[in-house]
Each structure stands twice: as C-alpha cells, then as structure tokens.
C-alpha cells in the first residue's frame, strides 16, 4: 500500500498500462515535456519516450480525431483534453464520429480509446473552465463515461478504461487532484459499470459522483450524529450504469437523494431518479430529492461558486429537512 495523490494516480494508471501494452500511447496539449498542466502525466515522456507520449498543437478536433483514427489502425490511444469545457470544440468528433461509428458500420470498426479530461468546479476558474459535463457524455449512445472519486479508483478505472474495447470518456475532477488515498501495490485493474457502497446505512440512500463523493461521506457523518443513517453510493461510472447496486440500496432504505455537480436540467440524477421511480415506486417512503448545481453557468467568486455547487451543509440540510 502506498499513499498517492489523485493527480499521481493518473500517471500511475497510465504508466501501468503503457508498461504492459505498447499499443497504449498518450497525446494532448502540454502532456509530454511539461507533464500536463495539472501535472497528471509527469514523468511519462522520460519513461516511455517521444513516440508514445506526444505534445499536440492546440487542436482539440485533431486530438480526438487522431485518437479515433489511431484506434482504427491498431493502437489503444489516450487523448487528453486539458479542460472538459473544451469538449465543446470537438463535440462533433466525440459524438458524431467516435460514439457512432461502431454502430453505423455494424461493428466493422472498433474504437478502444480513452479521452481523459479535467472536469468540474470549485477552482474559481469561472464559467468556461469549471463545468461538470459528465451528463453531456452520458446522453450520447456509444460513449462509456467514468468519473472516479479516489486515487485507487483513478488507477483501477483508468486501467479498465484503457483495456476496454469501447470509447471511454474519463472525467478527472480537478479539485480532487491534491487529495491523497491508499493505493494497493502491484497491478490494479477495476471494472467499469460497478458502483461502490462506501458507507452503509438504513434510512436514506445518497448517490454521488466524483467530488460529490467525499462531500456525501462527510454529510453522512454529520447526519449520523443527527440520528439519520445514510448509505453512500459512489456511482463511479455513468455508462455502464450499475443500477443493481443502486436499486438494492434504495430497496433497503426506501429514500433516494442524488448529489450532482452538473447543472440541474437533465443532470445524471434525473436518469437515476427516473429509474428508481419506475422500478421502485412502491418501495419509496418519500419523494426522490436531487441536490444539484442550479441551472446557471458557474460564477468565479468564492462566495458565489460555493453557493452554486452542492456543499456538505446543503446536503445535510436537504436530507434533514426531507428525511428527518
């Protein structure tokens, strides 16, 4: 067991896969010589050389298009988009090309590729460098969508994403980069489409993703003191979606709360809510409640951004009001 930051876990996961499979290559802006603007790819150029770790021009369509073409011709490429907000500049390639090509060619084309990108708010970057866009990717048939919340999950899920034969969008939360966690030694490979129950409880189920996971855990602790027993689920992956774990938990607790960083409308929690409402309606003891960022672009100032994104306090108050 070693203690690793979420940031270093990215490089660890990439290195693990590059070591075992020479088809794994990495491109992106500033990923090679500079080691990434978030330093998530530090040391990889030195270790794997300039053919396999390569800086690109500021060309998001080229980055995503090139990894698609490379995946069609025998590589298992990883492309980094510096900020997830930049997905908007290459959304055609990601959604019309990468996501659909297998289906439209009836399986002739396989695209084992990963798009890694820094996602989420909290860094006071303002509306164009802070979005949580996992629900965009979730809305597109043909994309797998992963968003880890801990260093160990970064390594294991990144390895799983790279080994997966389908395109995966891998959202790294930029506020989690400095957090530390235990990461087991040796090769680590997790499984996509598996949620984790991080805390067991009987009264309510709290479903969270990425940076909302540590917040949900902290809220659960506070709620326990108030006599509410909270089960916390880390979804980890939106596509495939582990509904079995989710439904199992709600069957037990009969209450569901989602904690989402994405803006309200059609956030991932809406889909979760709809599944639970359709399949467990008669088991519910109260309304499903979604705790989300409001439907606004993210502001930059501390007070405003903190108010926008769900906080531990907001989670605690919402659950208490609704389930207490």
């Amino acid at each position: 067991m070693a203690e690793l930051t979420y940031r270093d876990a990215v490089a660890r996961g990439l290195a693990q896969e590059m070591e075992r499979d020479e088809r794994v290559v990495l491109i992106g802006e500033d990923v090679a010589k500079a080691g990434g603007v978030f330093k998530t790819t530090a040391g990889l150029l030195e270790r794997f050389g300039p053919t396999r770790v390569r800086d690109t021009p500021i060309s998001e369509e080229a980055i995503t298009g090139m990894i698609m073409g490379a995946a069609m011709n025998g590589l298992r490429p990883v492309g980094e988009l510096m900020f997830s907000d930049f997905l908007a500049t290459c959304w055609d390639i990601v959604t019309n090309q990468i996501a659909k090509t297998r289906y439209m060619t009836n399986g002739q084309v396989e695209l084992p590729l990963v798009i890694r990108t820094a996602n989420g708010g909290g860094a006071r970057f303002g509306g164009q460098h802070s979005q949580s866009l996992e629900n965009w990717a979730m809305a597109v048939p043909g994309l797998k969508v992963v968003a880890p919340s801990s260093p160990a999950d970064v390594v294991g899920l990144l390895a799983a994403a790279i080994r997966d034969p389908d395109p995966v969008v891998f959202f790294e939360h930029k506020m989690l980069f400095p957090i530390k966690g235990e990461v087991p030694d040796g090769e680590l490979v997790d499984e996509l489409g598996t949620a984790r129950v991080l805390r067991e409880g009987n009264d309510v189920t709290l479903v969270a993703l990425a940076r909302m996971v540590p917040m949900a855990l902290e809220a659960a602790e506070a709620l326990a003191a108030a006599g509410i027993s909270v089960e916390v689920i880390d979804l980890r992956s939106l596509v495939p979606l582990d509904t079995r774990t989710l439904l199992g938990s709600v069957t037990k607790t009969s209450r569901l709360f989602t904690v989402e960083e994405n803006p309200r409308l059609i956030g991932w929690g809406a889909e979760i809510s709809s599944i639970v409402a359709e399949e467990l309606f008669w088991d519910l003891d109260g309304p499903i409640v979604r705790i989300t960022t409001p439907h606004i672009p993210l502001p930059a100032a501390d007070e405003l951004e903190d108010l926008a994104i769900p906080s531990v306090q907001r989670i605690v108050e919402t659950v208490r009001r609704s389930a207490g």
């Binding site: 698609m68 490379a70 069609m72 002739q108």
Partner: protein
C-alpha cells in the same frame, strides 16, 4: 512515366463500374427504392479510380458522403453496397449506415463521413498509428473544396505536416459546395493548393478528370508518404455531372460551364485516349458490358433481398455486440 496497357484498361474498367453503379443508384432513387439521400460522384470517377489503383492492400481510404466511388473502387462488393443503399439485409453495414456511410474495413475503405471535415483528423490518426507501429501503410483522405474552410481541415493539415504523417489529403474541387460556388467564399483562387504553403507543403494541382494524371500524382504522393517524408495536399480539379444530392437539378450552374465540363467527361476522355493508343474498341465495349452486367446483377440480387433483421437495431453499439447501458 509510361502506364502499361493492363493498368490503363483496369483504370477504365473501374471508372465505368463506378459510373454505372451510380447511374443505377440515381435511377433507384427516382424509383423510390433508395430512400433518404444520395450524393453521387458522377463525373468525378477519375479521382477515385486513379487513387484506388495507386493504393495497396493495407492502405486506408477515408471519404465523404460522396463516397460510393471510393468505397466500391477499393474493392467493396457491389451487391453489398447496393444492399446498403436500398436498406436490405445484404447491406455492407446491415442497413445502419446508408448511402452516406458506406464502409468496408476489410478492403481498407475506412468509412464515409458526413460531417464536413471530421474525417481529416481521423485519417491523420490512422496514418499516425502506421507511423508509430512502423508499418508502411498510408492513408488517403478525400474531401470537397468546401471542406477547406472548416477548422478540422486546418487542424489536420497542420498536425500531419508537423508530425510528418503518411497521409495524402485529396481535395476534389468540383467548384461548388452544396449550391454555392467555392469562389464566393474563399480569398484565394485554389481552395486547397493555395493553402498548402501554410503547412509547409507544396501546392499540388492535378486535372482530376485525367485518370492517368491522377494515378501518377497518387503514386508520387503515396511514395513520399511511405518514405516518411510526410503528407501531401492535392487539389484535383473536377466537376459533378449532376446536382449536389438526391434529384437536385443544379440550376444554379451556368449552362456554358456545364457544357464545357461535360465535354471533359473523364470516361469519354479516357476512352478516346485508349483508342488513340490502339486499344481495340471491342475490348472497351466488353468492359462496359461486363460492368453493366455486374450492376444489373447487384440490383436484381438486392431487390430480391429482404430488409435487415430487426434484431440488428439493438446490436453493435458496444464491442460485446450489444447495446446495454445498465445491469
């Protein structure tokens, strides 16, 4: 360079196959058997034939919605292409692609892309993989004059040049986008060739209706790619015989211009050249008859084929063959 007679006959045959195939596609569209849309390459066959002849097994073709010719001439079976056009069970993409998305990966026809410009970086990526893996493959990417104004064109050309990728970019300049002349929307005369210097590339212009010239240009560009000297950007001057898509009568084109270009039909020009080179007229007649028979056969076979099995609707979203997104 002297092109030998068997190669020339083969170039002729391939152009004629493409011509008859697409003429039939048009007829089937008018008959209502081909639904949706078609974008025909009638008049542009020399570009497809010249390149396909110059390419090798393992080379990869990336083309647009105007991609019937390119896919067919890389060797995709005609009946399976016809099946895809008509939405039948024998379709090469199981009916999930349609006219704008013909693909035959086994022949290196890596797909027909219908969002303008998207396939340029994808073709560059396939070439990058060839470079990383040390194969001697090249990729060839066909697109229109209008495509030179979209961002992906610039992103792909730039990175391909900087990384010296074995990719050949071929702009089929047919003078029009959908309905607007390219000259109305560019600040230079030649949409591709005049931009080449911005990527450190030579501006290459070829008569896209002269299949010999296309073939030779293609051989040179592919050899350069295989030598590791990087990409080429080739502008092939050509013309659509018909409209942009479906039954577009192309009334926006001056009749004198159309007449001028119809005289330069690549197949007529090549027939005359072959006859002047003492090829027997009977040999050409035979090629034409065989091509027509092939098209007739593909049409009959496809018409007699049922629609795709509806089970296919939910398959091949994922590599496990299915479409499940939850457990």
């Amino acid at each position: 360079m002297e092109i030998d007679t068997p190669t020339r006959l083969s170039l002729y045959r391939e152009m004629v196959r493409a011509r008859y195939f697409e003429q039939r596609a048009y007829d089937l569209f008018i008959e209502g058997l081909l639904k949706g849309t078609t974008h025909l390459g009638l008049g542009q066959e020399a570009v497809a034939a010249g390149f396909a002849a110059a390419m090798r097994e393992g080379d990869m073709t990336y083309c647009t919605y105007r991609g019937h010719n390119h896919t067919l001439l890389r060797g995709a079976p005609m009946d399976a292409l016809m099946g895809e056009l008509l939405g039948r069970a024998n379709g090469i993409c199981g009916g999930k692609g349609g006219s704008m998305h013909l693909t035959d990966v086994t022949k290196g026809a890596m797909g027909s892309y219908a969002i303008v410009g998207a396939h340029l970086p994808i073709a560059a990526g396939a070439a990058w993989a060839a470079q990383v893996r040390g194969t001697d493959q090249a990729s060839v990417c066909f697109f229109g004059d209008g495509t030179t104004n979209i961002g992906a064109f610039h992103e792909a050309l730039n990175i391909a040049a900087v990384w010296s990728l074995p990719v050949v970019f071929v702009c089929e300049n047919n003078l029009y986008m959908e309905y607007t002349p390219i000259g109305d929307v560019i600040a230079v005369e030649h949409p591709a060739a005049d931009r080449a210097p911005a990527y450190g590339l030579e501006g290459i212009i070829v008569d896209g209706n002269d299949v010999d010239a296309v073939y030779e240009t293609a051989l040179r560009a592919l050899a350069r790619a295989r030598r590791g000297e990087g990409p080429s950007l080739i502008e092939a001057k050509t013309y659509r015989h018909g409209g942009h898509s479906r039954a577009d009568p192309a009334k926006y084109r001056p009749s004198a211009e159309v007449e001028e270009w119809m005289k330069r039909d690549p197949i007529v020009l090549y027939r005359d050249r072959l006859l002047a080179l003492a090829v027997e007229v009977g040999d050409l007649d035979q090629i034409e008859a065989e091509a027509l028979a092939e098209v007739d056969h593909a049409t009959e076979l496809t018409k007699a084929t049922p629609p795709p099995d509806v089970a296919g609707l939910m398959t091949e979203v994922w590599a496990d063959g299915g479409s499940a997104w939850r457990n």
